[in-house]
Amino acid sequence: MLKNTVLPFGPQHPVLPEPVHLDLELKDEKVVKAVPSIGYVHRGLEKLVEKRDFQQYVYVAERVCGICSFGHSWGYSKVVEKLMKIEVPKRAEYLRTIWHELSRIHSHLLWLGLAADAMGFESLFMQSWRLRELVLDIFEATTGGRVIFSACKVGGVRRDLNAGQVKLFKDNLALLRKDLQTIAPTFLKDKTVALRLKGVGVLTAEDAHAFGCVGPMARASGLMEDYRLYDEGGAYKELGFKPVLERAGDCYARVAVRIGELYQSLNLIGAALDNLPEGEIAVRPMGFPAVGECFTRVEQPRGEAIYYVKGNGTKNLERFKLRTPTNANIPALVKMLAGCDLADVPNIILTIDPCISCTER
């Protein structure tokens, strides 16, 4: 009887922008078992709270991941504000929602491009990333940065939007919507794309629940897991929100969910810009974080992220913990890889929208 071969996948691999290591146990061309091991991007930044005070740390928190950057700075600020019982002005909540939804659009467009590249569809990759530049132009004009913006802080936001910037927002997003309507059908209706995506990496609703999936992974299998339904922060309660769901649970369904969320975020931003309340953009935090601990959650583009802080009355927090959505989706990845073809492995890994720097912190 032949022994199974073990193929080490990663950390350097052309299809993955980030280093992750998987040991794939193979029988012929089928994967029998996948063993993940991480640590290449581990910086140990949670311990840095001991060296940076609670207001400086927001700059470290937003550099956990370059793609979900705004979400992390919002989550960190939100949890510290909850601990210190700070009430953030309404205008700041709307601005945070606007930038966060724009981050979601950026993240999904980036992912769509990478998924197309992994399939071998390079022109679609180029088109998705060309659209992404429209989004980055807005970020640069309104916050000063393309990828890491440092717009959020404890107490509110650091920048405001004037009438000219609101107009730029609306113009670019209208252009984006128009261009999206030409490339989205390629993802959803093209025959070659469907052949690569349909029926691949199927996760049923029961499995998705049994493996604790979050984000678009869960929603593509039909689970109603979206923290924006319950979020007290941001403008979601006022704007009204309904998650995008699919039933099939395969790679195609995940593409469809993310494209649906692109349109949904465009609508949410439009509504938030039209209803932007007047007022201050930040309040100054007084004193130091109280003794105590707090949890809060944010719906990142990849799913729900949970933030925890423990204060001890000094200017440095005692503990900060962040559990990112990719961290929660890795068990499902391990489950999906068992029994798949070797050629589908990059596709399946990409389908969870892996953000390894988020996972490892």
């Binding site: 950390p11 350097q12 691999h13 052309p14 299809v15 922008p17 980030e18 280093p19 640590g39 290449y40 991007v41 581990h42 910086r43 140990g44 930044l45 311990k47 840095l48 060296k51 700059y59 470290v60 550099r63 956990v64 991941c65 370059g66 793609i67 950057s69 980036l110 180029m126 088109q127 990333w129 060309r130 992404r132 530049e133 940065g145 393309r146 990828v147 890491i148 953000c355 720097s357």
Partner: protein, 154 residues
């Protein structure tokens, strides 16, 4: 004009980066910045590459990986450290798992600062690296010429 600088191929590896610089490196390939018009191709194989674009700082896990990629690249080659983390460790310098910037692992030729480094800076860094690549190619050719006259056969 050396043929090295006509169409350099580059390989990109993420050390311990947050991804910000990595997506800006990939953005250089996309239609707005489009380095492919200069003949620059992003390859996944170290043995095909002339320029090593590395992001993020060095930790003990990726130290051997980075060195292995560096050693597999054929001479002459250059290393461009993209982003503040690759230059010096950046905002994570004092973390327990970080050893510092990329020059703790491999010799770096060009440092591109920024957090995240802008595509314009990255392209500028690559262009500077091309100049260094050409000099290295010349030195290598001179060395071969000196060695060749001593051990020439026939």
């Amino acid at each position: 004009m050396s043929y090295f600088t006509k169409s350099p191929w580059l390989i990109h590896y993420d050390g311990s980066s947050c991804n910000g610089c990595d997506i800006e490196v990939l953005a250089c390939l996309t239609p707005l910045y489009d380095v492919e018009r200069f003949g620059i191709v992003n390859t996944g194989n170290p043995k095909h590459a002339d320029i090593f674009l590395v992001t993020g700082g060095v930790n003990t896990q990726n130290l051997p990986v980075v060195r292995q990629i560096y050693e597999q690249m054929p001479e002459p080659h250059v290393v461009v450290a993209v982003g503040t983390c690759a230059c010096s460790g950046g905002v994570f310098r004092e973390c327990y798992n970080m050893l510092g910037g990329m020059d703790r692992a491999i010799p770096v030729d060009v440092y591109v600062p920024g957090c995240a480094a802008r595509p314009e800076s990255i392209i500028d860094g690559v262009v500077k690296a091309l100049g260094i690549l050409e000099e290295k190619a010349k030195k290598l050719a001179e060395k071969k010429a000196e060695g060749g006259t001593n051990g020439a056969v026939g």
